[in-house]
Symmetry: C3
Subunit: 357 residues, 3 copies
């Protein structure tokens, strides 16, 4: 990883990132900042039209904005079609948090048969077992455990206390946050007369390139076949992905969400936080699931899905729950009225019995 910048100029940034410059190219940029209140000597950005009013008062030395915003903004600016993406690229130049010395620490514990690529940094207390392979330029943080024959692609970054199970594979440029557990035993049980019998979990976890896995997230290895996470998937903290799940490329999964076993999520999906998805389902591409939704059936049409109930004052909510519980009476009262009025009798009452999930 190249050393990060101490400072540069707005002109140099425009050139390196292929952005149009407005204002003084010699403006010194020492870092990035939030648009409001902004910081002198730093670069902000505005990607959201609702934040436009903050442009005027910002103390930032310059901002990244759209051409549309630039038409009405008089200060120093870089113009980008997608200011958030441009900002991400520039911010990376100033990010020191992920630099590491390309050294194997004396307190790391690396099996003689493990292969460590060039330019890796291996932290103290890291354990790398037999036949494991660490790609060039990767960082394996303190107290990580890479089990037997696991493979980590080049340019990956595993923070502290990460666990990677035997034979599991992670692609290039992965980013795995502290405490993540990749390739723990799947929750595979069979029922005997005497109780639960553990079913050996012989599959692996296979993770593509450019994948992010959040802190304390758990991804179980497959029972017989593998659990698969495709390229470009982004997974937040405290997510559970059970054995034999398959997550399609470019899908993002927010925190505290759980996927039960053998479920297949399509490509470019966005799964909200606190979502639960039952096992053995198929979710097609381009599906958005809003926060705290329960998915119990396969989804075959792209679109937005939801079942989370938004909060109310508890007293009001208790009444709503009571009313839901009395809906059977509503049906009965309606039917009695309809009968009295000799309206067409409703069959809605019986349909209720058929619903299953």
């Amino acid at each position: 990883m190249p050393a990060s910048l101490a400072s540069t100029t707005l002109g140099a940034l425009a050139e390196r990132h292929g952005l149009e410059l407005r204002g003084n190219a010699a403006t010194v940029i020492e870092g990035v900042c939030a648009l409001a209140p902004g910081q002198p000597g730093r670069l902000g950005f505005c990607a959201d039209p609702r934040l436009r009013p903050q442009l005027v008062g910002s103390s930032a030395a310059a901002v990244i904005i759209t051409a549309q915003d630039a038409a009405v903004f008089g200060g120093n600016a870089l113009i980008a079609a997608n200011p958030a993406v441009a900002f991400a690229g520039i911010a990376r130049e100033f990010d020191r948090a992920e630099e590491f010395p390309a050294l194997i620490h004396a307190r790391a514990c690396i099996d003689a048969t493990a292969m460590i690529g060039d330019g890796c940094g291996i932290g103290p207390g890291a354990v790398i077992e037999a036949d494991a392979v660490i790609g060039a330029g990767s960082y394996i943080g303190p107290n990580c455990v890479i089990r037997r024959a696991a493979v980590i692609g080049a340019g990956s970054r595993l923070e502290a206390n990460v666990y990677v199970g035997p034979d599991c594979r992670i692609g290039a440029r992965a980013r795995v946050l502290p405490g993540a557990v990749i390739g723990g035993r799947g929750f595979g049980l069979a029922r005997d007369r005497s109780g639960w019998v553990e079913v050996p979990q012989l599959g692996r976890v296979l993770i593509g390139d450019d994948v992010e896995i959040g802190a304390n997230t758990t991804i179980d290895r497959g029972a017989l076949d593998d659990t698969v996470i495709e390229d470009g998937v982004k997974i937040d903290n405290l997510v559970q992905i059970a054995h034999n799940c398959h997550v399609g490329s470019g899908t993002a999964i927010a925190a505290c969400t759980g996927l039960a076993g053998s479920t297949r999520i399509g490509r470019h999906c966005m799964i909200g936080g606190g979502v639960g998805i039952s096992g053995h389902l198929q979710i097609c591409d381009q599906v958005v699931v809003l926060g705290m939704t329960l998915v119990t059936k396969s989804i075959t049409e792209p679109g937005i899905y939801s079942s989370g109930l938004p909060a109310e004052p508890a007293r009001q909510w208790r009444r709503d729950v009571g009313r839901i519980r009395r809906l059977g009476k509503v049906d009965a009262r309606l039917a009695a009225i309809e009968q009295l009025l000799k309206m067409t009798p409703s069959t809605a009452g019986e349909q209720g019995e058929q619903g299953d999930f």
Copy 2:
């Protein structure tokens, strides 16, 4: 742990596992596989009648099936009353993932007063404090921390980065997945005028035999009495069990579920994923709670319980929520109609106020 097999014959497996053989006893079996598509030289199984159609096309060298399925299947087979359980037993013979050398690694850090049984494997970075006891044949993985006077039963397996708190006890043949925290401080607080006061948590966690605890699951120690997990309990990943809970034998708890303090779960229950159970409740034996259900009252009858709302397209769901919020108006409209028609007035409206949870 005995060395795992490289290969065997179908006849030898039939004999060792007490299963009836159909077909060629000399068939070489080098491992296990999924039924579809199957793998040559490997053994599959069919436990679910819905998968029967896969039997014909499978490339597996042999399959484990019920007598009923065997009547119509012409290939090599082992016949079992419960094919899933039989498969689990045979698969275990081929499972290399959990072998370990019976050695204490030079980088483990073991107090002189700790007692380590015969045949244990202790990984690098593992810390075993004073007066702890590790039963014979156990595996304590890299970077595990076993605190003062904790006791681990014989034949147990603690994967990497597991924490076991002071004085906690785990029975024989336990399996604790990476990152699990057993015996952390309970969330015990009292309210003073100035804010929260921490209540010391002086109890332990007591765990029976044959218990599985998932990755990054947390089980808090009791406040005064102990938190208890009985024999044969199986707990998935990212589960929270608060102080002074008691989980009865043979109960299984799926991922992302939380039990609040002092709740008692009966025996042979199945608690789904993402479930929340309030504190100080009693759940009787043989209760099944479906995924993402909220349990706020004790359950005294065996059966299946639920409150999870299944996903809909968000637009449709938003309408449903709006209609729930207008149920009070439905009551009022019904009452107005009933009054106009001189029907018996309904008292349902007032009952709504009484509901509490």
Copy 3:
């Protein structure tokens, strides 16, 4: 930390804790216990009027009770306005679980530029990077990782396997349970034509004094500004706090709850377990959110909020769900009846479309 007591007398406890004594001051107290069944030689307490009947049968050598209860209880007692708080203070005297030797273990790995205060205990496998500062009298447990330039206040206690990210700050008297991850990368992504682009997360986590953070809880560092946890906040296990959240002083958050990015929780709030709070919201002071509630809008009035649906037998619940799904028909049936009766037509049907969350 001072050595804990082996035994004392009831009179000595009354004096040290400023409590009124009833009965025999010479009663030997060797520890604390639950009120029922109680233990000889130990001190119990009764803070809940519903537990009063247990006072008579308790085997405890003495109890902490209110003046009101003391009027009718004849045994040895300490009288306190708030027995739970008084008990917490006395129990702490007997708590041995958190004693530690004030030593830096030979297997700890501490950078030469890190500053370690007097009287600290640093466990084996702990890693403290360059420029980190550990306040006097703190305990950093085995295999903790304190990254570059992080600061931990005096008298803090970090249990095993805790991660504190670069530049993060934790105040005095913190208590961080095993596996907590403080200052992992926020889940900051921007969307490019080719997929997700990681947005560098340059902020810190700033944590006040007297904060508790539960086992395997994750608190992400800010994107540009900092994530802030104020003084006296108490956070349970497996909680997710996303980048740029702000939690006000004295707020408590129960297990399995998730806060999305940039949300601000007020002071003295109580957030239940399994709650989900959307991003960019403002929750005012003194708000209580009950378990498994989804908060999708800012809350501006103190009070109790809820949306969790309590469990029912699954068969009954399935009918309730079917009836919710048919509420549109209820509206239509009501409208038809009202029309027939020439009642004022209802507009409730259209209002449903307007609801948004």
